[in-house]
Symmetry: C2
């Protein structure tokens, strides 16, 4: 998606060869006008697919998911990150490893909000090693629901997550796919 690629070139900040900061428009300050364009592009990509629910993960996926949900006319459910199991009631749970923060945490969704008949589009801001997306896919499958696909804002295509998940037969649509990046030369897209 050219609009997002252009914005990453303009406002993204590369640190080293694998950290891309997009917090001025994507995941700390959020450019909601841009999110509307991204939501419409996801709707175009998934046109013809039956989708009953959007699943994302707190916190930075929520904004994109909610704006996109307006295009799809479906509710959003967000998986919660937790280090405790003190949530009342029954939940689906899965483990996610954060490479950025160097820790493993549980993600949970109340069983009430993922049903066997659901056709789920998973939305998140980043895809790198694929751990969060794998965790979300696992929650959907535990519920007996169907993963229609994933809609990702920024995929680091030089990391293994995208290939791993596509190789599982899951459709992944990334609005910007970073081929490589460096502080000297900026970001190159696939």
């Amino acid at each position: 998606m050219k609009l997002l690629e252009d914005r990453i070139r303009k406002d993204g900040k590369v640190k080293g060869t694998d950290v891309l900061k997009v917090d001025s428009f994507l995941n700390h300050q959020m450019d909601v006008e841009l999110f509307v364009q991204m939501g419409q592009e996801l709707k175009r990509l998934y046109q013809g697919e039956e989708i009953t629910k959007i699943l994302t993960i707190e916190a930075s996926g929520i904004g994109i998911a909610c704006i996109a949900a307006q295009c799809f006319g479906v509710p959003v459910v967000f998986a919660k990150k937790t280090k405790t199991r003190n949530i009342a009631g029954d939940v689906y749970t899965s483990k996610v490893e954060s490479f950025t923060h160097g820790k493993v945490y549980d993600i949970i969704v109340s069983k009430e909000f993922l049903l066997p008949g659901d056709k789920v589009l998973i939305i998140d801001d980043f895809l790198a090693n694929g751990s969060a997306l794998m965790g979300l896919i696992s929650l959907v499958r535990d519920a007996g629901a169907t993963v229609v696909g994933a809609g990702i804002a920024v995929e680091k295509a030089f990391q293994p997550g995208g290939k791993m998940i596509r190789d599982m037969g899951v459709r992944v649509e990334s609005l910007a796919r970073v081929k490589s990046m460096s502080e000297e030369n900026g970001v190159e897209f696939c």
Copy 2:
């Protein structure tokens, strides 16, 4: 706002006399169509006010804030909860006490995203003891920016936060104000 009150009566679950679960439509599963109505109502309430930015706090404020931001045509910034100070660069920071979880945490916003000229509308899903809202107001004031007001989905008017913050001279608009509640009689609004 009658639409929200009706929805709370229909789908909210009261536990004891002070826990109101609205996670089927507000803060775990999110009814984005409802959020659009709420955003339009906040826009109506704050019409004529100059607003340059919406500030919220992760995670459950983000969805409402992003949808409302479409009505206001401004970006959203969300404060991050953290127990560490390992964020690169300069941040404004404030303390918030969670009565639900019985702990104190820091909230932070990058100084880049709150500027002295900003006119800020603070949006959150709940107002009870007012600790989160006080923390957000403190971040805005530390930046030298102006708090135009707060837009809250559900205020527990029987808890002290709303009065405390209005007594400070801050405008607070709550779309549903709960006067009292019980498992037997459900929710009564102001």
